[in-house]
Amino acid sequence: MRLTRLLRVAGRVVLLAGILMLVAACSCRTKRGVANIPMAEEGSILKDVYFAFDSYDIDTTNRSILQSNAMWLKENTESRFVVEGHCDERGTPEYNMALGQKRAQAVYDYLRGLGIGASRMSTVSYGEELPLDPRHNEVAWSKNRRAHFRIER
């Protein structure tokens, strides 16, 4: 009986030590700095929209994608998300930062027009820095000129 209790206590100590080690490992990781930018990812529930070179126009294809995204957002009113603006690798990184912001903002404005609340959305540009397709051809470039929705919750 006494042995069982001893074992139980020992088990708890081991568990506690394990948790402590895990926490320590996590905080250590944070201290060294985990990534400050996300991985490039393709849209799943909310579809990405694509742009022509040096353009931030919401064309008719983009409109229908954004309309179906808006329908999902209206059914899932709890979800918050970031609109990411991206560019292809061509052109100057600095100009592409501004261009990516314009793309994100154009999408944000269009969704506002469809009745999506401003408190649910924010924008960020990653310029040409987070390509979805790392290759250097027109197929890759057309995939990389995009606005992407990153769902926060």
Binding site: A35, N36, I37, G91, E94, K102, V124, Y126
Partner: protein, 437 residues
């Protein structure tokens, strides 16, 4: 770390002309610019005492500087007749015929004395045809400062030939790709001494130097959203400048280093703005609805600003007064995409990037857009940045191979292109620091 700081801090050297020859400044040596290169020998120095490698390092650094300058043809050391490191009783006690026979018109030689980790270095520029010394300098420094000594004498040689300040020993900061991140790095302008400044695991980009050559302002995602930050390149301490929800990018220090000119994209608008060093908005300079205004660059003297805007369709280069008035387009080079202007410190030219020949190329024109010249034509070339003396441009280039960018420099007319870095992952967006004093 202490050692590093010591190396990075201002080099204390006693520099003086120590030969008193009335004929010193009298010479027929002529620099022919990017035309015929001036053949010069830069042999190993004479080691008078000690066992320092500076006798080889100084001529190597000097030779590289003179090669980069675009004015000299440094003769191949394998062709030298004279014994390497030869010493003589007096600075001109050598056989000039050893040098004229291999075609040298100029010659740099010198003497090194090493004593208890301290170097005393005497360097001389000889006119081989006239068989005389035309320039002499003596430097004292720690044995770790051989490179600085070489750069300083290279600047003296440039001043002797061109009457202008050299840029050797100045720094170039740039963004370097590490994995999927971009960090800031800095190197000497000859491509040596590269070291990483940031470890943000994010995006650190669009850096620009403060007037003292110690602080960089840059755009960083270290708080996950793009804001302006400043980093001290000596101790790497970082200070946050802006805290906006928008995008601030392409900042440049204003008069006396007291303000920052930058592009701010926020909501529907993209403006050129002035911040104070705490990130408070001082003034909005442009306000055209719906367009991109980006990459503002001061003219020398801070009276005008060049910038990139897509207000007339695709991005083009414009200039305006410091007040934001009097906007004029200046890029007219048959391209629908021109970005990243840079105003020459001499005031007369603006360099920029345009989409041309199926890629991106660097151009320069007068400040009113006249006399536009295409400076590059091979591969992709972007982001020109003037040297502090206005004689060279640093830029990002693929150097005609693949898609990976590295940093290069060329003379202002596009000649003498030199690749400075050789990263397999990519270096871009150079920022040239001031001339060290």
């Amino acid at each position: 770390m202490i050692q590093t700081l010591r190396n990075m801090s201002v080099v204390v050297l006693s520099v003086f002309i120590f030969i008193s020859n009335t004929a010193i400044a009298q010479t027929d040596l002529v620099v022919r610019g990017s035309g015929r290169l001036y053949p010069i020998g830069v042999p190993q120095l004479c080691l008078q005492s000690g066992e320092t490698g500076a006798v080889r390092e100084i001529p190597e650094v000097l030779a590289r500087d003179l090669d980069i300058s675009g004015y000299f043809e440094v003769l191949n050391p394998n062709a030298y007749v004279e014994t390497p490191g030869k010493c003589a009783d007096s600075p001109d006690g050598y056989a000039y015929s050893d040098w004229s026979v291999i075609g040298a018109e100029g010659l740099v030689r010198g003497v090194v004395v090493e004593d208890d980790d301290e170097l005393k270095v005497q360097l001389f520029l000889h006119d081989v045809q006239k068989q005389k010394i035309v320039l002499g300098k003596e430097y004292d420094g720690h044995k770790t400062q051989a490179r600085e000594i070489a750069h300083r004498f290279a600047n003296e040689v440039m001043r002797f030939f061109t009457g202008e300040d050299g840029v050797f020993g100045s720094k170039i900061a740039f963004s370097t790709r590490i994995g999927r991140f971009k960090e800031l790095a800095v190197m000497d302008m000859d491509g040596t001494g590269e070291r990483q400044l940031t470890d943000e695991k994010g995006l650190a980009m669009s850096s620009s130097w403060g007037p003292a050559g110690q602080v960089l302002v840059y755009t960083s995602y270290r708080q996950r959203m793009p804001d302006l930050f400043m980093i001290n390149t000596l101790d790497r301490k970082v200070k946050r400048v802006t805290r906006g929800t928008g995008l601030e990018v392409g900042a440049q220090f204003g008069p006396d280093g007291k303000s920052l000119l930058a592009s701010q994209t926020f909501g529907k608008e993209s403006h050129l703005v002035l911040f104070d060093l705490e990130g408070r908005l001082k003034r909005r300079l442009t306000a055209v609805p719906g367009v991109i205004d980006v990459s503002p660059k001061w003219s020398p003297g801070f009276r005008k600003i060049a910038f990139c805007s897509n207000r007339s369709g695709g991005p083009q280069i414009f200039t305006m007064d410091a007040s934001g008035q009097n906007v004029k387009r200046i890029s007219f080079v048959k391209s629908n995409y021109c970005t990243s202007p840079a105003w020459s410190p001499l005031g007369d030219r603006i360099a920029f990037t345009c989409r041309a020949d199926g890629g991106f190329q660097i151009f320069s024109s007068n400040v009113d857009g006249s006399d536009a010249l295409q400076l590059t034509s091979v591969g992709n070339n972007e982001d020109p940045e003037w040297s502090p003396n206005g004689k060279y441009l640093a830029f990002s280039s693929t150097f005609g191979r693949g898609r990976t960018y590295n940093i290069g420099i060329m003379r202002y007319d596009g000649s003498n292109i030199k690749q400075l870095t050789n990263s397999r992952t990519g270096n871009m967006d150079p920022a040239w620091g001031p001339i060290p004093r």
